[in-house]
């Protein structure tokens, strides 16, 4: 059984300092699950974008990291939730170049391309949850026979 310690976590997102913590945790967790350098960087970058969205647009929230397995592959699921104003037009928010916060408008759509699975749930007025999952392309080290 692969250990989930150091992978699963619930991290608050309330300030810029928390974003640093989110990135560090995701990097470390992804490395532990056997993500290659490129996949690590992609997932960390996606986490950085989504956590910043949670902070800037959602007024703060929570990131939950979960270790997932499917068919012998190890994956990391990150869930970013806030109870902010929600996203009124999801289609538009996912398109490149659209921004409501003065950024480049690449955050949401860009992070979708950086991960394997991407899911948004948003209810205007009550908050947004973005769930992303990425899989390690090579099996993690020190894995016993399946």
């Amino acid at each position: 059984m692969h250990t989930a310690a150091g992978v699963e976590a619930r991290l608050p997102i309330r300030s810029d300092m928390d974003l640093v913590w989110v990135r560090q945790h995701v990097r470390q967790a992804a490395a532990q699950l056997g993500f290659g350098l490129v996949d690590q960087t992609k997932l960390v970058t996606a986490a950085s974008e989504l956590a910043r969205n949670t902070l800037v647009h959602g007024g703060g929230g929570l990131m939950e990291a979960t270790h997932v397995r499917a068919g012998g592959a190890e994956g990391l699921r990150l869930s970013f939730s806030d109870s902010g104003p929600g996203i009124p037009d999801l289609e538009r928010a996912l398109s490149d170049g659209y921004t409501s916060g003065g950024g480049l408008g690449m955050g949401l759509g860009g992070s979708r391309r950086l991960v394997h699975d991407f899911e948004v749930e948003s209810t205007p007025g009550s908050g947004t949850t973005v769930r992303v999952t990425s899989w390690a392309t090579r099996p993690p080290r020190q894995r016993g026979a399946v």
């Binding site: 810029d16 300092m17 974003l19 640093v20 990135r23 990097r27 350098l37 490129v38 690590q40 960087t41 992609k42 960390v44 970058t45 950085s48 974008e49 910043r52 490149d96 950024g103 480049l104 690449m106 955050g107 759509g109 860009g110 992070s111 391309r113 950086l114």
Partner: protein, 299 residues
């Protein structure tokens, strides 16, 4: 206790403990002076350790007097808070963890407890148990106070370091006449990128730089905000007549930026600082040639 009054039911355990602390102030302080916590902190003289111990005993007596043995915010503790903070800090500097400091504080209980038991031979077991419990609770609260103080010290240290980190010198390095470089390290949030931009623009003016190299080898994550900061810096430098080259883009970062859809547009990029310097020198019309292999050069 010898001079226990007949109407003893009126005296609460807290007041009994208070009287005990006042009566045995000297002995308790003497014994505490031999405990590691006092012995290793107050090294100048034993008297100093004893005095510090007395101050703590006095504070405990005041807290017991006010019947606040369980309240870490009791006014009685305020007199020794600073002293506890200094003691805790001294032990931390000596390499002890908070847990170890906490167990050193716990070690103050047995000597006091022994004194209490020794002088209470005439008390009933119930009374003795009540006093002993109260004393134990009181010292537990003292531990809590010391830990609270240590935590708030840690918090203020973190706050100071956060400020320091923000102001970590962003050195602008002159690489050649007209070429400056800024090695960016760590997280490039809005506050830090502002500092970087200011330093760079000042250097462009001071050094009459025509080229500025922003090296991002030390930036672990380039997301859209970092890219935006980079582009703003480049645009500002360009307005001042300096061309910017962004170097140190690692393969993983390059792939990530492509997926994210980030395009640095017209910004010149190079893989390494050396490549960037080569590009700038070339643009300046400076050629660097290797010395002839047979040493036919000057010398």
């Amino acid at each position: 206790m010898p001079e226990h009054e007949a109407g003893g039911s009126l005296a609460t355990p807290a007041h009994e403990v208070r009287d005990f602390l006042r009566r045995r102030r000297e002995q308790i302080a003497q014994r505490w002076a031999d405990e590691p916590l006092f012995r290793t902190v107050f090294t100048a003289s034993r008297d100093e350790a004893v005095e510090a111990g007395k101050a703590v005993v006095d504070a405990l007596a005041r807290v017991a007097d006010a019947q606040q043995v369980e309240d870490p915010d009791a006014a009685g503790f305020s007199a020794v808070r600073e002293q506890l903070a200094r003691m805790g800090a001294a032990r931390s500097r000596a390499g002890l963890s908070n847990t170890q400091v906490s167990s050193e504080l716990a070690a103050l209980w047995p000597p006091a407890e022994n004194l209490l038991v020794a002088e209470s031979d005439q008390a009933s077991p119930e009374e003795l148990r009540a006093w002993s419990t109260t004393l134990s609770v009181l010292l537990g609260t003292l531990r809590l106070v010391a830990m609270q103080t240590a935590l708030s010290e840690t918090q203020s240290l973190i706050d100071r370091q956060r400020l320091q980190l923000l102001e970590v010198a962003t050195p602008v390095i002159k690489l050649w006449d007209g070429i400056v470089a800024v090695p960016l390290i760590g997280t490039l949030d809005s506050a830090r990128s502002q500092v970087v931009m200011e330093t760079l623009l000042n250097a462009v003016v001071d050094q009459h730089a025509r080229f500025a190299i922003l090296d991002i080898t030390g930036v672990p994550t380039v997301d859209s905000l970092v890219a935006q900061h980079l582009m703003k810096t480049v645009a500002a430098a360009r307005l001042m007549g300096a061309e910017c080259v962004v170097s140190g883009i690692r393969p993983a970062i390059a792939q990530t930026m492509v997926h994210l859809g980030l395009d640095l547009g017209t910004v010149k990029t190079r893989a390494s600082l050396a490549d960037a310097l080569g590009h700038c020198l070339h643009e300046l019309g400076t050629n660097i040639v290797n010395a002839a292999p047979d040493g036919a050069g000057r010398r």
